[in-house]
Subunit: 371 residues, 2 copies
Amino acid sequence: VKPIVKRAASATSDLSENLSKPALEIDALVIGGGPVGLFQVFELGLMGMTAHLVDVLPHAGGQCIELYPDKPIYGIPAVIETTGRRLIETLLTQIKPFKPQFHLNQQVNTIERQEDGRFFVQTSLNTTFIVKTVFVAAGLGAFQAKKIPLSGLIPYTDTQLFYHLNPNANFAGDDVVILGGEDAALRTAISLANNVNNPPKSVTLMHRRDIFTEELAKQNPDIVAVLHLVATGKLQLRISQLSDIVEKHHQLTSLKITDVDGKAEILPVDTLLVYLGISPKLGPISDWGLELERHQIKVNPATCETSEPGIFAIGDINAYPGKRKLIHCGFHECTMAVFAAAAIVFPDTPIHLQYTTTSTLLHQRLGVKHS
Amino acid sequence: VKPIVKRAASATSDLSENLSKPALEIDALVIGGGPVGLFQVFELGLMGMTAHLVDVLPHAGGQCIELYPDKPIYGIPAVIETTGRRLIETLLTQIKPFKPQFHLNQQVNTIERQEDGRFFVQTSLNTTFIVKTVFVAAGLGAFQAKKIPLSGLIPYTDTQLFYHLNPNANFAGDDVVILGGEDAALRTAISLANNVNNPPKSVTLMHRRDIFTEELAKQNPDIVAVLHLVATGKLQLRISQLSDIVEKHHQLTSLKITDVDGKAEILPVDTLLVYLGISPKLGPISDWGLELERHQIKVNPATCETSEPGIFAIGDINAYPGKRKLIHCGFHECTMAVFAAAAIVFPDTPIHLQYTTTSTLLHQRLGVKHS
């Protein structure tokens, strides 16, 4: 697997740094930061294990954030109404006492069993781990951004062209063009247009359809924010399509765009941020030697252990008789997995079920005080 | 099974009425109104089935209300902190759209398969059902009040002596004595002492230990409320033990009580309300012919079906490999059970998993509107 050499400005750690770093020796690695991966961190924390978590996206949340951040969810037990975004925020707060370490913007490429029984794990940013237990909470697979179908742009990927970048990236002094009409595109445009500390030279939001109508604004406050920024001259808006690019000395300098009436325009660009949707791909998981069943990882429902002892699969990615792809079923699976994992990590300690209502030990781990 | 003839004033329906009523023909009966029984009602509702629910207690909540109503719970996924009481309130709100029918203060005594494959079910209050599917969510069994060890009192049970009565019962004009120091005793004393519409003649709270100290009051606002009612003359407090009773014409007229210094007192009484704790007993469940395993009901984890097709067991009462007695595991089990139940109730309809984020049908069933 070819490691990614050019990286988005938002990536959290430096590749050369990772290459020289020794592997992290840890008890538990969770792959996937969706709701089930996050709750696995909680269950590991209650069990006395600190978790590290890897996700390909620049943030936690998985499908909840990528597919339905603002849609209502009514089916979580004891949560009458939430949204993808609020559910993730709540889970991040719930796991805070356990201080999980996130390794974002990277995908696990390699899992190999070592002679001592532990696993060597390497990510696309060359972060390496030696771990006792692995929890695959990869949902439908690693989310990958839909690429822009203009081959001339490929050489600029990760230098001037970025896919689904974290909205907090720094492009001070640049002519920035943001392509796309989805939530993440709007939020990035708003964030950059409002950036007073490191202001870009210009920020342009471009989408092929006019979604900035009064009707749609009623349902989406981000549209109102965009319209306000356009009205106050902080943001340019184009309802156009990208038709070609202009280059000079191996630099991308401008975009040729065409509006709905066929009128062309040349738009200067230093940085092009693209949000054309994101879709999950199983990716390297299928190469780890785990027994699969129609693109799902087969597990023992009593333990959520895969065909490889010490590797567990939880949430939408697993398969067992009766499996339903529901978030709260994934939560239960975290519990099944953590007891089996504890038997591996603490082989000499009998593991008893404890309750957060009564256990002093769990209160200590949660950092709450009770008399 | 001998039906209960004398009943607490709080019972919701009249026995003679029930005897003449025809059996209710329904799709789904849930036995047990703890958190898992309540969530089963939710899952049934999403599936298009209205549930009836039977519980031996005068209210929903099971262990959450009887064992830890005000203790913090940190382990419910996506619920950072709650208590037994708040969890139940939330679940009752969540299932409201499905208008479940509660049959309280009664225990299911009989479940018998009929020739047509459905079940005949009869409760201790002679409510009868003909049901297609039964969900046993009986937790540790039916909660039963600890009895007062004074045989002379037995004849007055359910006429002048009541165990663990709902605090909203009406005892206008009576000398009421409340025995016990637990939560439910205090709440009943507070409720009766504050009852201005149907005021008792007198209300006395009696407990053998002095729990009404400044120290304990800090942790329990009910103790403060009791002390305030005593100070304002609305409630009498006795730190004493019951030593004997005084009867006249087959009526209980007074209690002989003794305080910690051995000083005796005669306390007039029309109604004696006893709260000496409540503990679960498996009860008639063991006679229903279901395969058990160490007092738990064995189920297939893919369906939560018991050895008897159409009868499901969920929550603390069931057993399967890897079983953990945790509330959120019970929630998952409700989902496993409802899909298997739907195949029985709707044999000709293919059952697809639908999501509350996107399904118009589920939005209709939940009574929420989305564009």
